[in-house]
Amino acid sequence: MIGLLAQEAALTDTGEWIANGFFYAMAAVAILGGLKMVTTANVVHAALYLLVVLSAVAGTYVILGAEFVAVTQVLIYLGAIMVLLLFGVMLTRAKLGGEEDLDHEQRWIGALVAAGMLAVMSYSIWEAFDTQKLPGDRTPQLTQQVSDEIFSTYIVPFEALSVLLLAALIGAVVVARRD
């Protein structure tokens, strides 16, 4: 019995180790892809790096047991929004071979602001949650649970969101229409 329990503990330890490794791989891919996205001199390459970052973020959702959010991320972001952004690149006739004037001259001010924010946020995150652990049993939450919650507790924001989407659709058509 004790041996069985010890074995189970070892197994969960192994699972934790694998989850950690997967998370750090995903985090490294996301951060490197993000840095390349904001520094590359080619608009289409930036869109493709954004694709990499969004896929890595979907991987972290899977680690957290939010499988429906991960699938939605792949469908909406990687499927729809990326196509929309690439259409934007195409319709605005951005040069494909790379441009030198893609950044402001004073981009170091932006870097300064971002570094300052990162320092402040890291310090406050570390102060608030230094070694709090996530619960050990992160069983994936079923899509049924998510939909039950949306259509009971959060029904009003859901309906407001559908109206917002309709308004955004009509607004986009009206703004972009050639008349």
């Binding site: 840095l35 608009v43 939010a66 605005t92 230094d130 507790t153 917002l164 955004a168």
Partner: protein, 99 residues
């Protein structure tokens, strides 16, 4: 796993997105950086949902994804309109209202 791991990843992505918004001149690239910022917030929502064992975090992450879809649609329409009127999507040149 620590909660901090996810929060630090989200903070790093958020700051990369901030840098992209501030440093880029191309309007489409600014929109891409905004997508990065919204994604980092989603990581926070899902991580806190898992931390508290509550499903509301995932629900709000889904709401944020839907709002991001609406935002990028309207944003691209505005960028297209600026391109059509000014023949350029340099956000530094869109300064007609400058005093």
């Amino acid at each position: 796993m620590f909660l901090n791991q996810f929060l630090f990843l989200a903070a790093a992505l958020f700051c990369i997105g901030i840098y992209g918004v501030l440093a880029r001149r191309n309007g489409v690239l600014v929109l891409m950086s905004i997508e990065l910022i919204l994604n980092s917030v989603n990581i926070n929502l899902v991580a806190f949902g898992a931390f508290h064992g509550h499903i509301g975090g995932q629900v709000f992450a889904l709401f944020v994804i839907a709002v991001a879809a609406a935002e990028v649609g309207v944003g691209l329409a505005i960028v297209l309109l600026i391109y059509r009127n000014r023949r350029s999507i340099d956000v530094a040149e869109a300064n007609l209202l400058k005093g």
